[in-house]
């Protein structure tokens, strides 16, 4: 392994030297003129050289050009395009400030050149939504929700209304890497899953990588949701906020030192629990979150960014039950420009997820969580106009608290109990190249090497034949094995180690400016597992590291796509197919009790999963009428065969559908600008019903009716569909005044479809007759939200 690693480093060095060339570098940062906010993904083009680049996550660009005079075109969605004639005769640093296009405040015009680049760039399987698009979509209770909006794009789904997280291309919820300002978020849901943790006002940019994932990212096998928070306005003090049915928001931003430093602080909270307080009701359910950001530009080459996120959900039912959970993220970053063509970012990140539960009537408190400290150093190296490198390293230290039980008071019958903390280190180095091989062919290829070390102190049980789960052949059930001993590890002693090479490769072939085909392959490794045997994860589920009995999940994904712009980018079409398989997906034996279990290895089996599908996205990008049609045809399955021929495995060892498998998933999203002040939006959603298991018989045991279930997930809930409408009203959009307000009126599920959230087969306790009971969650729900900014 060490040998391989050395070779890899050598290869990196070789790559740097071999592509160096004599040319001048044009570089700089592009910002929004009104706020000095850096802009991500701005196109910087030199048409005469047929070359260009987009700004990175920190607004930086760099281009290698031969000496000469050129027209430089800088364009970005919703901003006025800058076209400037420049003379390059030495290393040149040029910063640009873009003005918002006054005519279209709503960013409905997608500049054609930006789509042109998408056609040629090798990156595929990327879902992008501007935060403005997200903000105007109709949503339940009018609560703008990043994740719910992503569900309207192909390849993204969830396990039903009110389920937590999201599923990408048949992957599980815990297989998504969710980054907020480069820091990992472990649970993206508020109120179990009704809302997501991201405050839309604080977000600058988001991208969801479903496939062809660059080597920069790793640690999860299914997708990467990369979200960047805004830096804050360093020109003038601004406030914005909103009042909605469920939650209200307020965000303030402004300069610390004008044009150099800025702050941003935003808060959001639900407030229905306040009404409960008035009624002497002790039940309560609320959430809040706080986003903060400080940024300070030291000089042209150095910038410091501090960001923080803190969110909590609290539920309590009288004194009997109290539940608190949430994420905390702190992050310090240093942007440094080494030379005009090397941009670097060093991040020190702390993130933690906490879960606490108090059960008053049983008499205990329960705490669990995960903490990590992450050091990342990433470089963007612009070698020449056809070759760009990204490389870096990451090191993360984890501290897992799987659970601690304490009695509430002396009268409690509960004994103190602490599950052993687990420790681990994850490291990674990567090198990735974006290479324009010819006018028609461009490629992005890279390699990531990831290592994972489970560390002591710990005590690991040992088992006969190393088998912690025993198959009882007579009864055809799996049983926990008894430990035959314990192996004790000292602090920082390595318990087990894993290493994986993760190659990534994408290629694009452009037929012309408007048409291309792309293909990609990526391998990824995931060392953390969310231990959960419910259909959709609950906040109580604990993360556990790979170790002596749990192997890392390994993904191989292949994707192929066809991309086309019509009518100069007014319409666009993306069609992709994918196939992916994941090894070492944990599955749980029947009756596995995962809570406060010190020996998870005794209730899990090693399985695999696979998914394949076709995704089509047809968009209208320009004009008063915009929107898209998204269609996904897919299958997601899981299989856990027996370990020996006599064993049956889980679900008889055969493939079974994942809980979030949907054969067809269609969404239509449309937006129509009636006038400057009024805008109408609609979305329609149709999905095959979620997999479910229906009983095939019943019996009576101790006077209780017991349903008999056969093959897992072999039935389906009825099809899901609904239509949502919303109207946005901006009364003073053209006014000169600073204070601007807008109203958003929405109706969710307008034809009041009773979509099944679940079907429960049970005995009616009054009549004694068995019946199927449908629970439907959201009927027709009107909402109104008021937003303001000044």
């Amino acid at each position: 392994m060490k040998q391989n690693f050395r070779l890899f480093i050598l290869a990196c060095c070789f790559a740097f030297t071999s592509f160096a060339q004599e040319n001048y570098t044009l570089s700089g940062t592009i910002t929004d003129a009104s706020s000095n906010e850096t802009l991500i993904g701005v196109n910087v083009l030199i048409p005469s050289l047929n070359t260009g680049v987009v700004t990175n996550e920190y607004g930086f660009y760099s281009l290698k050009v031969p000496e000469g005079t050129y027209d430089l075109v800088i364009s970005y969605l919703g901003f006025q395009t800058i076209s400037e004639n420049i003379r390059i005769s030495s290393e040149t640093s040029l910063n640009f400030k873009l003005n918002k296009s006054s005519e279209f405040l709503d960013e409905i015009v997608i500049n054609q050149s930006s789509d042109g680049l998408n056609i040629q760039k090798p990156q595929m399987s990327l879902n992008k939504l501007s935060i403005n698009t997200i903000k105007k979509m109709p949503v339940v209770f009018g609560e703008v929700d990043v994740i719910k909006s992503l569900l309207l794009l192909p390849g993204v789904s969830n396990a039903g209304e009110g389920s937590s997280g999201f599923n990408v291309r048949g992957g599980a919820v815990d297989q998504n890497l969710i980054l907020l300002d480069e820091a990992t978020i472990y649970n993206s849901s508020h109120l179990f899953g009704f809302f997501s943790v991201f405050n839309p006002d604080a977000i600058k940019d988001l991208k969801l990588y479903k496939g062809g994932i660059p080597a920069k990212y790793g640690g999860r096998v299914s997708s990467v949701l990369d979200i960047y928070q805004r830096d804050g306005n360093s020109r003038e003090f601004k406030m914005q906020g909103g009042i909605g049915v469920i939650s209200s928001r307020l965000l303030a931003e402004g300069p610390i030192v004008k044009d150099k430093g800025s702050f941003l602080i935003g808060g959001r909270s639900s407030y229905a629990h306040l009404f409960l307080k008035f009624t002497d009701n002790e039940n309560s359910a609320y959430f809040y979150d706080l986003n903060t950001k400080l940024s300070y530009r030291l000089d042209d080459k150095n910038k410091l960014l501090f960001s923080g996120y803190f969110g909590r959900d609290v539920f309590s039912l009288s004194r009997n039950f109290k539940n608190t959970y949430g994420n905390t993220v702190l992050n310090l970053r240093w942007n440094h420009i080494f030379s005009t063509n090397i941009f670097s970012n060093l991040s020190v990140i702390y993130s933690d997820y906490y879960y606490g539960l108090t059960l008053g009537f049983v008499g205990f408190n329960w705490d669990s969580g995960i903490k990590n400290i992450n050091l990342k150093y990433d470089f963007d190296h612009y070698l020449n106009d056809t070759f760009q490198l990204k490389y870096g390293l990451q090191n993360t230290y984890y501290d897992f608290n799987p659970g601690e039980i304490e009695p509430i008071d002396e009268t409690s019958g509960i004994n103190y109990f602490k599950l052993k903390n687990k420790y681990a280190v994850e490291t990674a180095v990567y090198l990735s190249a974006e290479h324009n091989i010819s006018n028609k062919i461009s490629a992005e290829y890279g390699l990531r090497y990831s290592g994972f070390y489970r560390l002591g102190p710990d005590e690991i049980s040992t088992y006969e034949n190393d088998t912690p789960v025993v198959y009882n052949e007579d009864r055809d059930i799996y049983e926990e094995a008894e430990a035959i001993g314990t192996q004790t590890y000292e602090s920082d002693e390595i318990i087990s180690s894993f290493g994986n090479f993760e190659p990534r490769f994408s290629i694009a072939y452009s037929f012309n400016d408007n048409q291309s085909v792309k293909a990609s392959y990526n391998r990824m490794a995931q060392y953390l597992h969310l231990i959960s045997n419910t259909s959709s994860p609950t906040p109580l589920d604990v993360w556990t590291p790979s170790g002596p009995f749990i192997d890392p999940q390994i993904l191989d994904q292949y994707a192929f796509g066809y991309f086309r712009n019509f009518k100069e980018g007014t319409y666009s079409l993306e069609a992709e197919t994918f196939y992916k398989k994941i090894r070492n997906r944990i599955d749980y034996v029947n009756g596995a009790n995962l809570i406060a279990n010190n020996n998870i290895e005794r209730v899990i089996l090693n399985g695999k999963s696979r998914a394949y599908g076709l995704e089509i996205l047809f968009r209208k990008n320009e004009g008063r009428f915009t929107g898209w049609l998204a269609y996904t045809l897919s299958r997601a399955e899981q299989k856990t065969p027996g370990r020996t021929p006599v064993e049956t495995g889980i679900n008889s060892g055969g493939w079974y559908k994942s809980n979030y498998d949907k054969t067809h998933d269609i969404s239509i999203t449309a937006s129509y600008e009636v006038s400057k002040k009024w805008e109408l939006n609609a979305n329609f959603n149709f999905q095959t019903g979620l997999p479910s298991t229906f009983p095939t018989a019943q019996y009576n045991y101790k006077n209780i009716t017991v349903p008999v279930y056969s093959q897992r997930n072999s039935n389906r809930l009825p099809a899901y569909h609904r239509l949502d409408l919303s109207a946005n009203y901006n009364p003073n959009i053209s006014s000169e005044k600073d204070f601007k307000s807008s109203w958003s009126f929405g109706i969710y599920n307008i034809y009041n479809r009773k979509n099944a959230y679940s079907l429960t087969f049970k005995e009616n306790s009054d009549t004694g007759v068995n019946e199927a009971v449908r629970l439907s969650l959201f009927g027709i729900i009107p909402s109104v939200t008021y937003n303001f900014s000044f």
Binding site: H273, R319, D476, E479, S535, S692, Y699, Y709
Partner: protein, 269 residues
């Protein structure tokens, strides 16, 4: 007004306009299987040795009748080889009046039905005594429901498993292990919105084996309110300890266990 506000908020947060209705869902039918309900019990202080075993078959899910099995031969064999024959009386109930199981001793159940032989082996489990019963009114969603706590003292330094059966109008099974309560005075808990003062609740506390506890753990997850929705575990086939020795594929449901039982009756105040 207060009530209205309360209802409004609860509606909003917890139930979010949800609704439940009965729907017509056609179901596939699986083949009928034998169901064994063989609970051999010794009630503390009782002189009564009447034991009964119930044999039925599975039925289609929407059927209102459960077919009894009336033509099986049923016996229990002790460690010493003493055979206790169970005689069919009616409706699938088989009776023996001589079996008084000894604590810690193992017994074998043997059933012959449709020319197939089913067997199961279990150990007679002891149980500690019920200490006292406490009633409080802080339970449930409203924080005002009546709760009945049945206290007992768990024997220290040994794993113990308990089954509580509460019966008033409804029947409720509660199971406990002593992982977090070893050696302590702890309680079996019963609360639901329908309990009212004057109700008579029959309470039985069984000592059960680990494997019967695990069986009931899975069984409980399949019944009634505990199924469906994204935060529930996958339904599973609940396999018991009765094994079809003739044809493994034709496995039965149910369980054979032997338990000492402490019992009491509580009148809700």
């Amino acid at each position: 007004m207060k009530t209205l506000l309360k209802i409004f908020s609860l509606f909003l947060i917890f139930i979010v306009a949800s609704c439940e209705d009965v729907v017509d869902i056609p179901l596939d039918e699986s083949e009928a299987r034998l169901v064994v309900e063989a609970s051999i019990l010794y009630y503390k202080g009782s002189e009564n040795n009447i034991q009964q075993i119930r044999l039925t078959e599975t039925a289609a899910f929407y059927d209102e009748e459960i077919p009894p099995v009336e033509n099986a031969t049923v016996k229990i064999i002790s460690e010493e080889g003493i055979e206790y024959n169970f005689i069919h009386t009616s409706e699938g109930y088989y009776i023996n009046e001589d079996l008084k199981p000894n604590l810690g001793e193992s017994y074998e159940l043997e059933i012959v039905y449709n020319d197939e032989v089913y067997t199961a082996t279990e150990t007679m489990m002891s149980v500690t005594d019920i200490d006292f019963i406490e009633q409080t009114e802080t339970g449930g969603f409203s924080g005002e429901e009546i709760e009945v706590k049945v206290f007992y003292t768990d024997p220290v330094d040994e794993p113990n498993y308990y089954l509580f059966i509460f019966r008033n109008d409804k029947i409720s099974l509660e199971i406990y292990e002593d992982k977090f309560t070893d050696g302590n005075q702890i309680f079996g808990y019963y609360s639901n919105e329908d309990i009212t003062p004057g109700d008579i609740i029959d309470i039985e506390m069984y000592g059960i084996s680990k494997s019967y506890y695990e069986y009931l753990f899975i069984l409980r997850a399949q019944i009634g309110e505990n199924s469906g929705g994204p935060f529930e575990t996958q339904p599973a086939t609940v396999k018991g300890n009765v094994i079809n020795q003739t044809n493994k594929e034709n496995y039965p449901f149910g369980y054979f266990h032997l338990s000492e039982v402490d019992t009491t009756t509580y009148i809700v105040e």
